[in-house]
């Protein structure tokens, strides 16, 4: 195994392990913090897969913004610091079964389709900020503008929701 493969396996173990802790921990705040580890490990995998700009965007948006937003909402909904006993619903076993079947189907179909296929990453594949920015404003301008409209709509919607007066 090469260094890249070893690094990728370690990052993958880290991502899956901390995602399992998000699924199993009974402290809500710990779940949010394990989510940071998962998202950081995924950013590291992006770096190993030559998606440099995407990795930094992942760190900025997910670790920097989304998790902070989640923690703020936990604080505003008065999440207790200690463990919560009833964080899981009644259907744990069924959910675990559905998740196991999902994982089995996905892994077997990928293993059948891509057995022996190898990634060969060249220098021109690296998605630097300049390469990806050129591509984004060259072939993907229209979706980019639509995404900006979507973000504006989400912003207005979030403000409208949080200014809503509760009438009881």
């Amino acid at each position: 195994m090469t260094v890249v493969e070893v690094l990728f396996c370690l990052l993958g173990l880290m991502a899956v392990g901390s995602a399992a802790l998000v699924a199993l921990s009974s402290h809500v705040v710990h779940c949010a913090l394990w989510l940071v580890v998962t998202l950081g490990a995924v950013a590291g995998m992006y770096l190993l897969l030559a998606a440099e700009f995407v990795a930094w965007v992942q760190v900025l948006i997910y670790v920097g913004a989304v998790v902070v937003l989640l923690l703020f909402t936990l604080m505003l909904t008065r999440a207790p610091i200690g463990a919560l006993p009833d964080l899981d619903g009644p259907g744990r076993l069924v959910s675990a079964g559905v998740a196991a079947v999902t994982a089995a189907v996905l892994v077997t179909s990928f293993a059948v389709s891509f057995r022996g296929a190898r990634l060969s990453i060249h220098a021109e594949d690296v998605g630097t900020a300049s390469a990806l920015g050129t591509r984004l404003f060259d072939s993907w301008v229209l979706p980019f503008e639509v995404v900006s409209l979507l973000l504006l709509a989400a912003l207005v919607g979030a403000i409208a929701l949080s200014r809503h007066r509760v009438s009881r």
Binding site: A20, M45, V54, I61, Y62, G89, A131
Partner: protein
């Protein structure tokens, strides 16, 4: 590197996200599960971008779009969660049953006019 490594990792992340969405009853944890599933999809997109040496960088561009849409989703979702908490004093999703399809009007809790 075998292309199976990232694909297996993303499958497992997606399955764990499915478990979180189905099993947890805390609304913010469910949003975390959705984020995990979106990350699994992003990992697949980046992997196939590298695998096929895409000239248009489709995988990486789509990943950026998915991240933007996920940011919009989490903003709106958390605003809704906060509003639900202010009106119901709880965000356990299995207690929010006012929209359920019933024959009888609810006796307790759902006395909305």
């Amino acid at each position: 590197m075998p292309v199976l490594f990232p694909l297996v990792v993303s499958s497992l992340l997606f399955a764990i996200g499915t478990y979180i969405v189905l099993a947890r009853r805390h609304a913010i944890l469910i949003l975390m599960g959705v984020e995990l599933m979106l990350n699994a999809v992003n990992l697949n997109l980046v992997t196939f971008d590298a695998y096929w040496h895409d000239v248009l960088d489709t995988g990486q561009s789509l990943t950026l779009f998915v991240i933007a849409v996920a940011a919009a989703e989490i903003g709106l979702g958390l605003a809704i969660v906060l509003l639900v908490f202010r009106t119901h004093q709880t965000i356990a999703v299995d207690e929010l049953r006012e929209l359920a399809d019933r024959d009888q009007p609810p006796a307790v809790g759902g006395a909305t006019t």
